[in-house]
């Protein structure tokens, strides 16, 4: 499992992602600068890390999506390579049209930086196969624009196609208005594309992937990817990859 971590001007979770992939998982990982194009065949997983690419100017992710590296990401997604966008990475995937919908400022206009509980919406993906459907996990969020918006038809489609990977929930897995930190439609914290090879999520699994940090709930996400790529996951192979 070889990973690329795309570094945009303003990325600030690239080091954490690199650490988890290379040290915690013990897999090769490389930084790719946003000005570089790369060959999709060189990597199994491409991570768009969190941060504030281009200072969130205009809209979060709006400028980063035109980076040369993003052209390669679009091609890699088309070929079925796994793409993981975390926080700002999720915003970039939305702006690039790899995932449906858009992000707005948090409902209360505040920057939210705290742990949240998430209910796993589907274990049927390369990213979540080690979780149980309905399992409750804890991960930190850190964002000002995580208020997911999509029209009703899109939300219904995401639900019916089992593409909502994570919902904001309470500790017991109840998906309530109170457990929704930012106003996201349907409490959506993370979604998959149609081919299930692209995941965007606002919470930060890379910040909770080691026992020493007091929370290793995010490690299962990265291990799921490894299990999947090595052909050991219960979900088999998706699409064309």
């Amino acid at each position: 499992m070889k990973s690329a971590i795309i570094v945009f001007p303003g990325s600030n979770c690239d080091g954490d992602c690199f650490h988890v992939l290379s040290e915690v998982l013990g897999q090769p990982a490389e930084y790719v600068f946003h000005k570089e194009k790369f060959s999709a065949g060189d990597f199994d997983l491409i991570v768009l890390p969190g941060g504030f690419s281009y200072g969130d100017y205009l809209r979060a992710g709006a400028i980063a999506r035109f980076s040369p590296a993003m052209e390669s990401v679009l091609k890699a997604a088309e070929r079925g390579k796994l793409i993981l966008g975390i926080c700002n990475g999720f915003q970039i995937l939305l702006e690039a049209g790899l995932l449906p919908g858009a992000m707005m400022k948090n409902r209360d206009l505040k920057f939210h930086c705290h742990d949240v509980y998430l209910k796993v919406g589907t274990a049927d993906s390369p990213f979540t196969n080690l979780y149980l459907p309905g399992e409750v996990v804890k991960m930190p969020v850190a964002h000002g624009q995580g208020n997911y918006y999509a029209d009703e038809d899109t939300i219904e489609r995401l639900k019916s196609e089992n593409r909502i990977a994570f919902y904001y929930s309470d500790e017991k897995g109840r998906v309530t208005e109170k457990a929704n930190p930012n106003g996201s439609a349907a409490n959506i914290a993370g979604i998959l594309n149609e081919g299930r090879n692209v995941l965007g999520m606002m919470p930060h699994p890379e910040r909770c992937a080691e026992e020493i940090l007091g929370n290793a709930d995010g490690k299962k996400l990265f291990k799921s990817i490894l299990e999947y790529l090595e052909g050991r996951s219960k979900i088999g192979k998706i699409g064309r990859s």
Binding site: F66, G101, L109
Partner: protein
């Protein structure tokens, strides 16, 4: 040289959290605001062969980058500027 004034606004039906906060403040000041929507005004000076060409370019800018069609509508005015 042409100058475009571009207005980007949330679509009808999209809840605007900034607008809601400002409405609250206006009402606190006694203005009885019914609805407040916050948008962006972007000014672009550009070179183009004609007014029509400038309008085409500005429309493309809006569609590619300046507005997000999921959330936002745009409108613009373009005028020729004397150097």
């Amino acid at each position: 040289m042409f100058k475009a004034k571009i207005n980007v606004q949330f679509k009808e039906g999209v809840l605007d959290p900034q607008g809601a906060a400002i409405k609250g403040a206006l009402n606190h000041l006694g203005f009885e605001a019914e609805d407040v929507r916050v948008g962006k005004m972007i000014e672009v000076k550009l070179k183009a062969a004609s007014l029509e060409d400038a309008r085409t370019k500005v429309r493309t800018m809006c569609e590619k980058l300046l507005a997000n069609p999921v959330l936002e509508d745009y409108s613009f005015e373009v005028a020729e500027e004397s150097l």
